[in-house]
């Protein structure tokens, strides 16, 4: 897992290695699983409407599959340029 911007700040870490059960099939389910681990993480990830994700560096919606994914990132909407 990679976290960026205020997601990183609220999670208190920029990255971690995770091993979710096979029943966690989508990005949305993964966020639920991450949040369920710890109260602080639940608070950090509470604002689902402002969470964006990438699976193996491809931008995806929360409904996207994470099957076989090696790198998943969570972050706020982008504000570049």
């Amino acid at each position: 897992m990679l976290y960026f911007a205020w997601v990183r700040e609220r999670m208190g870490r920029a990255e971690e290695v995770i091993d979710p059960p096979a029943t966690v099939a989508t990005v949305g389910a993964l966020v639920d699983w991450l949040a369920a681990r710890h109260g602080d993480d639940a608070a950090a990830l509470a604002d689902r409407g402002r969470l964006r994700a990438a699976v193996d560096q491809q931008f995806v919606g929360l409904e996207a599959s994470i099957a076989g994914a090696r790198e998943i990132a969570l972050f706020p909407p982008v504000t570049g340029g």
């Binding site: 205020w6 560096q57 504000t79 340029g81």
Partner: protein, 149 residues
């Protein structure tokens, strides 16, 4: 047409406009349009910090550049984006499109900056006094990007 040279860079150091200009002018195009974004000081911002997603950022910028090359007949495309801490007046981003004709260069330049604003994983944090704030995306950016779809 897809052979137009694409230059994409994500860097912590300042953007060297003279060097970038030399590169894009070396393509023998007749028309070069550029856009430069600068850190504005007007609302009390002391420092702007840009975070990005290494690897994914470069790929996203390349995709934006390739999108321009697919739509217009271009001689070259440049996208340089700075990351890390910056002061007011410093360059955040420089995009350039070179073409035989000015219409293609001007439109491609607008496309590059509009798409970059919504399609590349950058996050801005502004510091005013002791307060750091993550910048929220603007609806107008999504409207500007959407007009190219």
């Amino acid at each position: 047409m897809n052979a137009a040279p694409i230059r994409v860079a994500v860097q912590r150091e300042g953007i060297d406009l003279a060097a970038e200009t030399l590169l894009i002018e070396a393509t023998d195009a007749g028309a070069i349009a550029t856009f430069t974004g600068l850190v504005r000081a007007d609302d009390g911002v002391a420092t702007l910090e840009l975070e990005h997603y290494p690897g994914a950022t470069e790929a996203a910028l390349r995709q934006v550049a390739e999108g321009a090359v697919a739509r217009w007949s271009l001689a070259a495309v440049t996208i340089v984006h700075r990351v890390g801490p910056m002061q007011p007046g410093e360059r955040i981003v420089f995009v350039a499109a070179a073409a035989a004709h000015r219409g293609a260069a001007l439109e491609a330049c607008a496309y590059l900056i509009d798409r970059l604003k919504t399609d590349a994983p950058f996050w801005k944090r502004e510091t005013r006094g002791d307060t750091a704030t993550w910048v929220e995306p603007r609806d107008t950016d999504h409207a500007a990007a959407a007009r190219w779809e």
